[in-house]
């Protein structure tokens, strides 16, 4: 079977309202990409919606959270030999037309392993979100930029393109509950190069955000801050290829 070398991974938890449009958008704008929906233990028709729209659907037996779902997508990509993964949210926040921007940046010839869509790079556009959320993102951006020594304007963005070395790393080791910020640091510690490109992000089309509600966003803020600073205290934050892997980094099915 002839396979395309790129995979679009769409983690989806109860996103039946918006998933079909996202899948169709990717098919329309990136027809050569294979599409994998990771149904993260949804209780609605998310899996069926994805399958009917023409995507492959991998269903987790229960809800793992976006980190575990995306990692399952990385494991699939590693096993099937995909050379790149584009992660797109199922809620319609990301515009499939802009996957092209990520790919252009990656294919420009300069050495870059991860291209990240940022909603803050274009000064002319404003991201429609409450002040509290934007403040949180900017706080992470400030801290993460200090640590990696490079301006990272949107470390919470889940709209990303990964190349093969990045996929292999993250399939072994991917942060838990709210993974995006930590993943930026993980990539940095492994000397993988990250670049941002400006993208639009829309308000969610349906479903519910995984970090909705002020109590939950405060927990999110504290949890990620803790992860960042404990990560700094580790002599070697993550395993290197060839090391004995911890449980969380066990390889996938052979």
């Amino acid at each position: 079977v002839e396979r395309s070398s790129g995979l679009a991974v769409i983690p989806a938890y109860n996103e039946e309202a918006t998933l079909a449009d996202v899948v169709r958008g990717v098919q329309e704008h990136q027809p050569e990409l294979d599409i994998l929906v990771v149904d993260d233990g949804s209780t609605d028709a998310t899996g069926d919606v994805g399958r009917i729209a023409g995507a492959q659907v991998m269903r987790l037996p229960f809800n793992l959270g976006v980190g575990g779902a995306v990692q399952a997508g990385f494991l699939h990509a590693v096993e099937r030999g995909y050379q790149s993964v584009v992660q797109v949210d199922a809620d319609g926040q990301h515009d499939p037309a802009e996957i092209a921007r990520l790919r252009e940046e990656h294919d420009r010839g300069e050495a870059v392993d991860v291209v990240c869509g940022s909603r803050f790079l274009d000064e002319n556009r404003r991201y429609p979100a409450p002040v509290s959320r934007r403040t949180g993102i900017h706080l992470f951006a400030f801290i993460v930029s200090r640590i990696v020594g490079q301006r990272i304007s949107d470390p919470t963005s889940g709209f990303r393109l990964y190349n093969r070395p990045a996929i292999e790393l993250l399939a072994r080791n991917y942060p838990h509950d709210y993974p995006e910020v930590e993943a930026v640091l993980l990539l940095h510690y492994h000397r993988l190069r990250l670049r941002e490109v400006p993208v639009r992000m829309y308000q969610r089309g349906g479903g519910r955000s995984s970090i909705e509600g002020s109590g939950k966003s405060f927990y999110y803020l504290l949890k990620v801050l803790l992860a960042i600073f404990v990560g700094l205290l580790r002599a070697r934050p993550v395993v290197e290829p060839g090391d004995e892997a911890p449980v969380a980094a066990a390889p996938g099915v052979r």
């Binding site: 990771v38 492959q56 659907v57 991998m58 269903r59 987790l60 037996p61 229960f62 793992l64 575990g68 990692q71 399952a72 494991l75 699939h76 096993e79 911890p246 449980v247 969380a248 066990a250 996938g252 099915v253």
Partner: protein, 134 residues
């Protein structure tokens, strides 16, 4: 009895000891946790003899709870890996034309009362063609 905290502590320790042994006997409690709880019994007895030790006992209990959080973290990681592997395997089965059939679906069918077509040796998977007819 309120005037004799030592006696209360001794009684509680004795009850705890019996409970722990009984749980191990019924295989409801693994030996390694039973050892921790027996150490708690010893701590309880010591506390009843020297009441100043109550702070030490509380500290010990906090350590036990922390140990449980460590175990829970490990179990959570292992569960995550299992869930991912299961999803990968099911995706593979589906790709090769076998439709995974979930236990909860089977239960629902059973309740609905039309689950009589199960063949012997049905291991929860069936050819895609069959499930497509459902």
């Amino acid at each position: 009895m309120t005037g004799h905290p030592q006696i209360v502590a001794l009684v509680v320790s004795a009850v705890l000891l019996v409970l722990v042994i009984e749980l191990v006997r019924r295989r409801r409690l693994a030996e390694r946790y039973a050892l921790i709880w027996m150490a708690c019994v010893v701590a309880g007895v010591l506390t009843s003899l020297w009441t100043e030790l109550v702070v030490v006992a509380i500290g010990f209990l906090i350590l036990v709870l922390l140990q449980y959080s460590v175990e829970l973290s490990r179990l959570g990681d292992q569960t995550k890996v299992l869930a991912q592997r299961l999803a990968l395997l099911e995706e593979r089965l589906r790709a090769s034309g076998v439709e995974p059939r979930h236990a909860d679906e089977q239960r629902e069918e059973g309740v609905a009362g039309h689950d009589g077509d199960d063949e012997p040796g049905d291991h929860g998977f069936q050819p895609a063609s069959r499930s497509a007819r459902r």
